[in-house]
Amino acid sequence: MDAQREDRRDRELLRQLAGGDAAAIGSLYDRHATALFRHGLALSGHASDAEDLVQATFVKLAARGPLLLGVRRPASYMHRMLHAEWIDLARHRAVAREESIEGELPGVQPGDAAEALDVRRALAALPERQREVVVLHVFNGLSFREIGRIAGVSTFTTASRYRLAIDRLRLLLGER
């Protein structure tokens, strides 16, 4: 029920955005930027790339105009756009996706607790696709079906990636 109400509110904001209302961008940013940033972080492994992905997503959203009127699930739609942006970015840089996670830990800041550092290191060690599913499911609360739509794979594949990721995280965090 809450999800439907949220979707309705988001659709109203998209309608305003399609009508040229600049204030709608701020409202949409406040509602979705954190989830989109986490998604970007999960895909790229770099905070700076995640920022670029969020920015590119909102710029494209603003340019869509009347196309936004037909969007039924705005949150899912924005995550799909971010996913597509990441594919473009990775292609342009000719970066192999599985290698791109090695450089930086996702979302680690100075002063983080040791437990948080451990968990984030373990997340960083996951392959990008598995990390994307974990972040979208655990942190953003999306269902496997929604994640499948965003990533362009089946629900079964999404669930399978998640299971593999959780098994690996358990191993990395010493839970077995």
């Binding site: 955005l17 399609a18 009508g19 040229g20 600049a22 961008i25 701020g26 940013y29 406040d30 930027a33 954190t34 940033f37 986490r38 972080l41 905070a47 995640a50 920022e51 969020v54 920015q55 909102f58 710029v59 959203l61 603003a62 340019a63 105009g65 009347p66 196309l67 936004l68 009127l69 037909g70 039924r72 996702p106 979302g107 680690v108 800041q109 437990e115 948080a116 451990d118 968990v119 984030r120 997340l123 974990v134 972040v135 655990v138 942190f139 609360g141 959780i166 995280l169 358990r170 965090l173 839970e175």
Partner: protein, 145 residues
């Protein structure tokens, strides 16, 4: 309330950082110039999901009515030319008369069938009353002397 396995709870409690505070201003500064001035009513209708659904439903209804009219009831028949009770009685009377006149059964059945077809389409073929009066398709009458 979020429930989950211990590993999921452990992940959640570790948390992930959010976007930096200055990103909001940057996003708005980049996005506002890309905004389109507004949508026309035609665009609003064309891109509206409800309008598309309504158009689809209307199209489906039209096709459904069209198909309903074409459902065959038997060989060479449809709702439009199904014989009425009067036509059936006329045909049965014709068949009975043929049998009483001594015609073979199959010939009588053929005559009955022909009478039924003729009685089913009175507007095109004209009508013959019991007293011998013939009504033509154009409304004129002939006296059978």
């Amino acid at each position: 309330m979020m429930l989950g396995t211990p590993i999921e709870n452990r992940l959640r409690s570790a948390g992930l950082t959010g976007p930096p505070p200055d990103l909001r201003e940057r996003v708005i500064a980049c996005s506002v110039p890309r905004l389109r001035p507004g949508t026309t009513w035609a665009e609003q209708i064309w891109f509206s999901g409800r309008w598309r659904l309504a158009a689809l439903a209307l199209l489906f209804t039209v096709f459904a009515f069209d198909a309903l009219d074409r459902i065959p009831l038997g060989p060479g028949s449809s709702f439009a030319d199904r014989p009425g009770p009067v036509a059936m009685e006329t045909a049965q009377a014709a068949g009975e008369a043929a049998r009483q006149a001594g015609l073979p059964g199959d010939v009588a059945a053929l005559l009955e069938r022909q009478a039924l077809l003729a009685a089913s389409q009175p507007a095109q073929n004209g009508r013959v009353s019991i007293d011998g009066q013939v009504t033509l398709p154009d409304g004129g009458e002939l006296e059978n002397r």
